[in-house]
Symmetry: C2
Subunit: 390 residues, 2 copies
């Protein structure tokens, strides 16, 4: 079976962009192309998968073809992959499988979202449509409310309080402070995060990620062509994914994401590792409670001890055990929905190659994980990366 490596990765800054979709995609793709160590040209790409929830930007259908023609890839087989906020995590998985299938040697996975040209009302609509429409959105339940329900229930079931979420917010803002592509670069104190404007009780503004514009792009290659492009690849040692009921009320528990647990279990098994082997993880913290639950679902903390993991600072860069969200996560780096999954991969590629800002570098990082979630957990993709292939 063919092994798959990342040979290049690039993205735009996340935030409020003046560029339209085409320009943002071209910037991310060109950054990825330029990051390849040896000669590389878009014509060498065999196939492309682009994640997007497709709001804003105006081009709601056939988006992938339009974007790829703006990055020198016209003619190639391309498609858009949509799984809400996990769109490009699945684009990455599908690109990885395309190489493993023997049908392609060099494949692009990317993502894009253009949100900030929408009115607040339209933005709320397009964010809401990834939750269950009939049972949640039309009843008035949007994502802050969904995750607030999960947080309240978690505090009820386990020894935890909002303070544990505040620690996550503070950590992620600290991690993202020197990240040049991050949307929100602010030194946020515990007191400030704790007393933020209430969004959906118990979640304050500092528990919620921003809505960002952004694009990200990674280039994957089959083992037999990797050396043509770089002597310093990052290997994707496993890809796993799962789904769950879309509406919260259908799930037996709302304090764990079964899709994350299933995907993580498979990803560890395929890569031949355990959660303890992960040096750094880019985790889907659309809300701080989502990161807390993920630390348990991914096995970094025992069930019910995600609060403790947070309180003890076990996810802090070069202080804790497993660095969680070295990029700043969705909270600080930002969350351009369709771009978030492969954006996590861009961070991991640069971290494992020692190419991020020196102050942000996770020391001795060899093994990494990305965790990308759609909606409130209906879809999830987990990937394990290594300096070595396993």
């Amino acid at each position: 079976m063919v092994d798959v490596a990342i040979i290049g990765a690039g993205q735009t800054k996340y935030g409020n962009h003046q560029l339209g979709m085409k320009g943002m995609w071209a910037e991310a793709a060109n950054n990825a192309f330029d990051s390849v160590d040896k000669d590389f040209h878009a014509k060498q790409i065999d196939e492309a998968f682009i994640g997007s929830v497709a709001f804003g930007g105006g081009q709601l259908g056939n988006t992938a073809a339009l974007l790829t023609e703006h990055s020198g890839m016209q003619g190639k087989p391309v498609r858009r992959v949509e799984n809400a906020c996990a769109s490009s995590g699945f684009a990455l998985r599908d690109a990885w499988m395309a190489i493993k299938s023997g049908q392609a040697d060099v494949v692009v996975a990317g993502g894009i979202e253009k949100m900030n040209d929408l009115t607040p009302e339209r933005k709320r609509f397009w964010l809401g449509v990834s939750g269950d429409t009939e049972w949640e959105r039309l009843a008035g339940l949007t994502f802050p409310g969904t995750y607030a329900l999960m947080a309240r229930r978690y505090f009820h079931e386990f020894d935890s309080s909002h303070d544990d979420l505040v620690h996550i917010s503070v950590k992620n803002h600290y991690h993202g402070l020197e990240n040049s592509v991050a949307h929100i670069r602010k030194d946020v104190s515990f007191d400030k995060a704790k007393s933020g404007f209430m969004v959906a009780d118990p979640l304050t503004l500092y528990d919620c990620c921003p809505t960002s514009d952004g694009a990200s792009c990674v280039i994957l290659a089959a083992d037999h062509v990797v050396k043509q492009f770089t002597d310093d690849p990052v290997w994707i040692n496993s890809s796993a994914a799962a789904s769950d009921y879309l509406a919260l009320h259908d799930r037996p528990s709302i304090t764990q994401l079964i899709a994350t647990q299933m995907a993580a279990k498979k990803a560890y098994s395929m890569a031949g590792i355990t959660a303890n082997d992960i040096d750094l993880a880019e985790v889907h913290d659309c809300f701080t409670i989502a990161e807390l639950l993920a630390t348990e679902d991914l096995g970094f903390a025992n069930r019910g001890e995600g609060g403790l993991f947070s309180r003890e600072g076990r996810g802090r860069r070069n202080e804790g055990v497993t660095c969680v969200n070295p990029s700043g996560g969705l909270k600080s780096k930002g969350h351009p929905l369709g771009a978030t999954g492969t954006g996590q991969t861009v961070e991991i590629f640069k971290q494992l190659r020692g190419e991020v800002e020196p102050v942000r570098q996770v020391r001795d990082a060899e093994v990494a994980l990305s965790h990308n979630v759609g909606g409130s957990g209906a879809t999830c993709a987990v990937h394990v990366y290594g300096r070595d292939r396993t």
Copy 2:
């Protein structure tokens, strides 16, 4: 390398459905499950790819997770694939690659669209967004106009007239007349089709496919598990795809679809056949001119002789050379955008197994092709099927 077979296929009737998206998908999926010759259960599915342009139906994001939970597939890795009207042609390709990758043995590819609960204005909007938004849709050019430009240019460049398109309309209505799942089952005479209500000169109502609701679902399996499910599989001997500039004005010629030509060339080469070997083809006739161009781009007719191919009835069932659109095509069977690609595969599965209505059966059919186009040719997927694997 693993070979890939179809072991089951089902769909809803195409037309104006009372069912919502969930019910339509469940019906198509259950029809596919029931069509498997030996014991089969949804739990045996490893992964799923569902094509949809996502208009109507209310659930615009995370659609795939919602649909799969309504067909007993909850928990499985699923995603929505979007490439305008070629969405499920690409879902099929991605499912095929997933099996070839060795990551999955049983994979579902399907598609769905719910259009007829939209107001005419919203329907026009959601149809238009798959053309180029900036250069075409916002200038007032919708798809009937786009294809009318292609037809006018074709008549200017070659020995052809609107009569050649009328023959295509008449043939497809004839083929679809006894198709129990077809949207428009009418015996249409040459004179009636020729004098239809003008939509976009030279295209009349009889040159344009209807907008349909519908869902389709096919089940693919790896060669080493096929016998567990059926002794009568249909093999997908090749899958190929390509893209092109989204806007017409960027292309060197508007009387050929380069994406079709590229995909067809690769598909024939991979299957080890030529166009002459194809017994029947399900071709993307969103407009009659699209079928005329496809007969050339796919190599059934020489360049400039698509009109002659039509006039001479060479695409007619059991009278011509290669039966083109035995189902009735998009014109008669209908066009529920995201469902169309895998809907073509359902027809081919049943034709090659001798399971369609007897009057519709293409005699001695061994090798078939499906051709699914997004927009006015920005994306295209071509698959070659056979009773034997090559």
